[in-house]
């Protein structure tokens, strides 16, 4: 009985944490380095 209560509690805590992360986290776009540079005349010679 005690083990069952602990399992239910653990599942509840896990669900709550996952729900918070899911709702608050945007997923977002990962950070990146570098940038785009437009190619112009000299690049085509």
């Amino acid at each position: 009985m005690r083990a069952l209560r602990r399992a239910i509690l653990a599942m509840g805590v896990g669900t709550a944490v996952a729900a918070i992360l899911r709702l608050r986290g945007s997923g977002g776009i990962p950070p990146r380095q570098g940038k785009w540079r437009q190619l112009s005349g000299p690049d085509f010679r």
Binding site: I29, R32, W36, L39, F44, R45
Partner: protein, 329 residues
């Protein structure tokens, strides 16, 4: 007297007609339209050239025939045009069209005519960028093309079909068929479009680029898609396509060896796909008229020197960009 026939008067076909009219190389322009009676207003905008509008039927005699109509049947039309003694510029991005047009190589050589395959945005500009980027390598190992955006409604319908057909990829010297909608990859397109999830689809670039990069272990092509695109890919189009599916972008990632160092090069472009496709096709038609292009059936990725094309596109306002920052790995 130079005559160009533009078969297909949708968004891209009209843009091609405008560019050809403005080029000064064309004396007579024949426009093929499904409903010629709807072309009066457009024809009035084109000045300084003789314009004729024709309904679907036998191809007219012309020095260059630009096939800008919806995908499918381009091979048969190209054969007919070659029979008329015409150069051919095809904008189709359908795999069966592309493979059929490439098979016309010997016919085109015998007739001393050029058949330019996939002269559009993607394929087309994408092939030019891949060719240009690949020249900087001692050995190209992988080429990965990604695109987003479409041209007119026909282009959107073709992409809708491509999302359910089998994608063709080059792997270790052989062809592999993979299911469309798989292979999710977050691709960074040139700003401001930014990052989009891209998936496999039946795209033509691997077929068109394999001749230029015979040593490449992998050649792939993916297209940006939303969850709704993937969910509804198996259904008929649920709403009419947009008049213009832009803005769009193309991104080519090339991996290989340069100066004995493993290197990755990323090159791309952003524009309205219909505008870029029209510019590429118009250049192909104009240079075919001038007789400066090789005979046979080929794609822009098979060119020895893509620079004149990229320079001319830059003159027409279509610029490429290179991604700097993580080039060497």
């Amino acid at each position: 007297m130079s005559t160009v026939a533009v078969i297909g008067s949708g968004v891209v076909g009209r843009r091609i007609a405008r560019q050809l009219t403005a080029s000064g190389f064309v004396d007579r322009l024949i426009l093929g339209a499904r409903r010629p009676q709807r072309m009066h207003g457009f024809v009035r905008q084109l000045v300084d050239v003789d314009i004729e509008v024709i309904a679907p039927g036998p191809l007219p005699a012309a020095d260059v025939t630009v096939l800008a109509q919806p995908s499918g049947g381009h091979t048969e039309l190209a054969e007919e045009a070659i029979g008329n003694g015409s150069h051919v510029v095809s904008l189709s991005d359908a795999l069966n069209d592309v493979e059929g047009l490439l098979s016309l190589d010997s016919t085109a050589h015998k007739a001393d005519r050029s058949v330019i395959v996939g002269a559009a945005f993607s394929p087309g500009l994408s092939c030019l960028l891949a060719r240009h980027g690949g020249e900087r390598f001692d050995r190209v190992e992988e080429v990965h093309v990604a695109r987003m955006g479409t041209g007119g409604p026909s282009c959107q319908r073709q992409l809708h079909r491509a999302r359910t057909q089998q994608a063709l990829e080059r792997r270790n010297g052989s062809w592999m068929k993979r299911p469309s909608g798989t292979g999710r990859e977050l691709v960074w397109f040139p700003d401001p479009l930014g990052a989009k999830d891209c998936y496999r689809a039946a795209l033509a670039e691997p077929v068109l680029l394999s001749a230029s990069f015979p040593e490449a272990e992998r050649i792939t092509a993916k297209v940006a898609a939303t969850r709704r695109d993937r969910l509804t890919a198996w259904l008929p189009m649920l709403r009419p396509p947009h008049k213009d599916g832009g803005p769009g972008a193309v991104r080519v990632e090339i991996r290989g060896v340069r100066d004995e160092i493993q290197t990755t090069e990323v090159i791309g472009a952003i524009d309205y796909p219909s505008a870029a496709a029209a510019a590429v096709a118009a250049i192909a038609a104009e240079w075919s008229l001038l007789g400066v292009l090789p005979s046979g059936s080929w794609s822009l990725g098979m060119l020895d020197d893509p620079l004149p094309w990229l320079q001319e596109l830059e003159n027409r306002g279509i610029t490429a960009a290179v991604y700097e920052g993580l080039s060497n790995t």
